[in-house]
């Protein structure tokens, strides 16, 4: 019983990390159909920048803020300098640009920062909270709360605001979006800023748990991508559910079956889900008719 609970805690913690990354994917995807492979680097930048700002003497909250704003600026720059000039390019080309960007950012990070592994203190200490014989760290609660909060914000943005609709409209039909007066460049800039900011926030929240270094981005992006696809790309609900599910799957497999093949189990489940629901759990079917 306490064992199950412990696996559950582990799964939810890790799942919330994945969910945060997956949520970051949502906005850029919704604006442009592009899965931004540099999303993981945003997470890395959030963590690393906080570490270095903190080390430079800023109090932790301020350091985190600087990191988030700075990363958002990197996101905007990425859009302005690389995505916007390639306007009209096929989606695959844009994806390759984001891959190039992730290599570039990683390369820059190892120069600007360093190649060491870093962390900073957990926000509310390291004393585990004990529940029915299982334990969870306070930082995990921060991560979970962060994931839920970002989810709610995004969900409201996309369903309740006209700007959110404009973002969806931009990816759905860029030509038509311009014809109805949407400044699609601004929408893209905004999306990159938000996605990068969310990524950085994720980095800030998870670093005390996962630690960080210039190259953590890739794995996080990969897991976040898988989570987002499991839930259905573009839907905040899917990102949250996919992330948590993936985390739980890994924890349960590691706990009950085999730690060696826990990632395998996760992917097998993803394959099974996609077999039954080709759009993921919450993905919407394309409604184009012939």
């Amino acid at each position: 019983m306490s064992e199950l609970l412990q696996f559950l805690f582990s799964g939810v913690t890790v799942g919330a990390v994945y969910a945060l990354v997956a949520l970051g994917f949502t906005i850029i995807y919704n604006a442009s159909d592009v899965v931004n492979f540099a999303q993981g680097e945003f997470v890395m930048l959030g963590g690393m920048a906080t570490v270095f700002a903190h080390a430079a003497g800023l109090p932790l909250p301020l350091a985190a803020l600087v990191a988030i704003v700075g990363t958002a600026a990197v996101g905007v720059a990425l859009n302005r300098l690389a995505i916007e000039p390639a306007r009209g390019a096929p989606v695959v080309s844009l994806i390759i640009i984001t891959i190039g960007a992730s290599i570039f950012i990683r390369g820059a990070a190892q120069l600007v920062f360093d190649k060491q592994i870093h962390t900073f203190p957990a926000f509310s200490g390291d004393d585990p909270i004990r529940i029915l014989g299982a334990t969870i760290l306070p930082q995990s609660l921060w991560v979970i709360a962060g994931a839920v909060l970002v989810f709610v914000a995004l969900w409201l943005f996309f369903t309740r605001t006209l700007l959110g609709r404009a973002v969806l409209a931009t990816s759905n039909n860029r030509l038509a979006a311009q014809l109805v007066g949407i400044n699609t460049n601004f929408v893209m800039t905004l999306s990159f800023a938000l996605s990068a900011g969310i990524g950085a926030l994720a980095g800030v929240l998870v670093t005390p748990i996962t630690l960080t270094s210039y190259d953590v981005g890739l794995t996080l992006a990969l897991k976040g991508f898988a989570a987002a696809m499991l839930g259905g790309m573009g839907n905040p609900k899917g990102a949250l559910a996919g992330g948590l599910l993936l985390g739980l799957l890994e924890a349960m497999t590691a706990g009950y079956l085999s730690s060696q093949y826990k990632d395998a189990a996760a992917f097998v489940v993803i394959l099974a889900v996609l077999f039954l629901m080709p759009q993921g759990l919450f993905g919407r079917k394309s409604t184009d008719r012939v």
Binding site: E3, Q6, F7, F9, S10, T13, V14, V17, Q110, D114, K115, Q116, I117, H118, T119, D126, P128, T135, L137, V206, I209, T210, L211, S213, D215, V216, T219, A251, M252, A254, G255, S259, Q260, K262, D263
Partner: protein
């Protein structure tokens, strides 16, 4: 002018190891040249970053041999990259000193291949020796699935019987995993367990150590030489790291070595030089590169720039005092270290202490 080549994993998953190695080599070549070179000849270091990719490592090794025409190669940060460089060095008959851990590199002995780090098998032996002393007979093991962790896991399983110890729980984790509590919970719940061993490098062991404390497992925890850097204690947290034991080279504990220790002078000098030059704390990995370079330097001094002569001179290294221990190579032993080269360390109050 003598050209020496290096292909290291300064970036990629093993950059943690490769980076200090690269910095060490650069520093040493500078020093040697500043001091007038070797027998009056300047050294030129041709260094490539293979990113931890064995295929790239092989290409760079080919490049070093065929295009740059170096006299010897240092490198192969990981076992995988090392193994793919070996055929190149053997074919071209160029001496090659590896910085990777696995015992397979020099066992069986290959004419042109040497290495400086202790083997993972030795680390296992050192750890089990210590466990045996403490009366431990049943342990749990949690290893990283990267090359380092997997290789050491296999080696430990191979020698554990010699010490009357049984591995009753055997778990793994991915090097980039964020949480290992499920695996540790299973280990904790395994009946009769008396200690836990964690072969791995990078961030994994830090997270294992934190989770270990979170779950209040309360048994002795052994880490491997893969975490032998000051950073480990910071990352795991002083509290969580308290009491953790691991085998490591003298380098880590330069300050607390008795003055009588022959390594003291060497390791203190290297550490001070490295930390002054790079501003980052020294690690044993940089030490491997230091030893490799110094052995090569010794050989060059003796033999000049001819590869075959260099090879013979390396093989003839005796009594070299390095960061990893005292090296005595022979035709049958291209490592030249024994178990005494390892110190068993324990973390107390956020610092290393020597057990014994």
């Amino acid at each position: 002018e003598i050209k020496i080549g290096a292909t290291l994993s300064a970036t990629g998953p093993a950059s943690f190891l490769g980076d200090p190695e690269a910095k060490t080599l650069e520093m040493l070549v500078e020093e040697v040249n500043a001091a007038g070179g070797i027998n009056g000849e300047m050294l030129e270091l041709v260094m490539y970053d293979d990113g931890g990719d064995p295929n790239k490592a092989r290409t760079f090794a080919t490049r070093l041999v065929e295009d740059d025409e170096v006299a010897a190669i240092i490198g192969g940060t990981t076992t995988g990259t090392t193994m793919s460089i070996i055929p190149v060095a053997e074919d071209a008959e160029i001496p090659f000193i590896s910085l990777a851990g696995a015992v397979d590199i020099i066992d069986p002995v290959k004419a042109w291949v040497f290495k400086t780090p202790h083997t993972d098998r030795m680390a296992c032996q050192k750890i089990f020796e210590d466990m045996q002393k403490r009366g431990v007979t049943k342990i749990g093991m949690i290893s990283g699935t990267d090359g380092f962790g997997a290789s050491m896991q296999a080696q430990c399983k191979g020698v554990v019987g010699d010490y009357g110890i049984e591995i009753v729980a055997d778990e793994t984790y991915d090097p980039k995993d964020a949480d290992m509590t499920p695996q540790l919970t299973n280990i904790k719940n395994t009946a009769g367990i008396q200690a836990v061993l964690n072969p791995g490098f990078g961030q994994g062991p830090s997270i294992v150590t934190r989770n270990y404390k979170q779950l209040a497992v309360g048994l002795p925890l052994y880490q491997s030489h893969g975490v032998a850097s000051k950073g480990f204690i910071d990352l795991a947290g002083v509290e969580a790291a308290e009491g953790v034991r691991l085998p490591a080279a003298a380098l880590l504990v330069a300050d607390i070595l008795p003055d009588s220790d022959p390594q003291k002078a060497v390791v203190t000098a290297y550490r001070d030089g490295f930390e002054k030059k790079t501003g980052t704390p020294v690690s044993t990995f940089g030490g491997h590169a230091y030893d490799a370079f110094m052995i090569l330097k010794g050989a060059l001094e003796k033999a000049g720039g001819e590869p075959a002569a260099i090879r013979d001179a390396i093989e003839g290294t005796t009594g070299y005092v390095g960061t990893g221990g005292i090296v005595n190579m022979t035709a049958e032993d291209h490592l030249g270290l024994d178990l005494t080269a390892f110190k068993m360390l324990e973390i107390k109050n956020g610092d290393w202490t020597i057990v014994e």
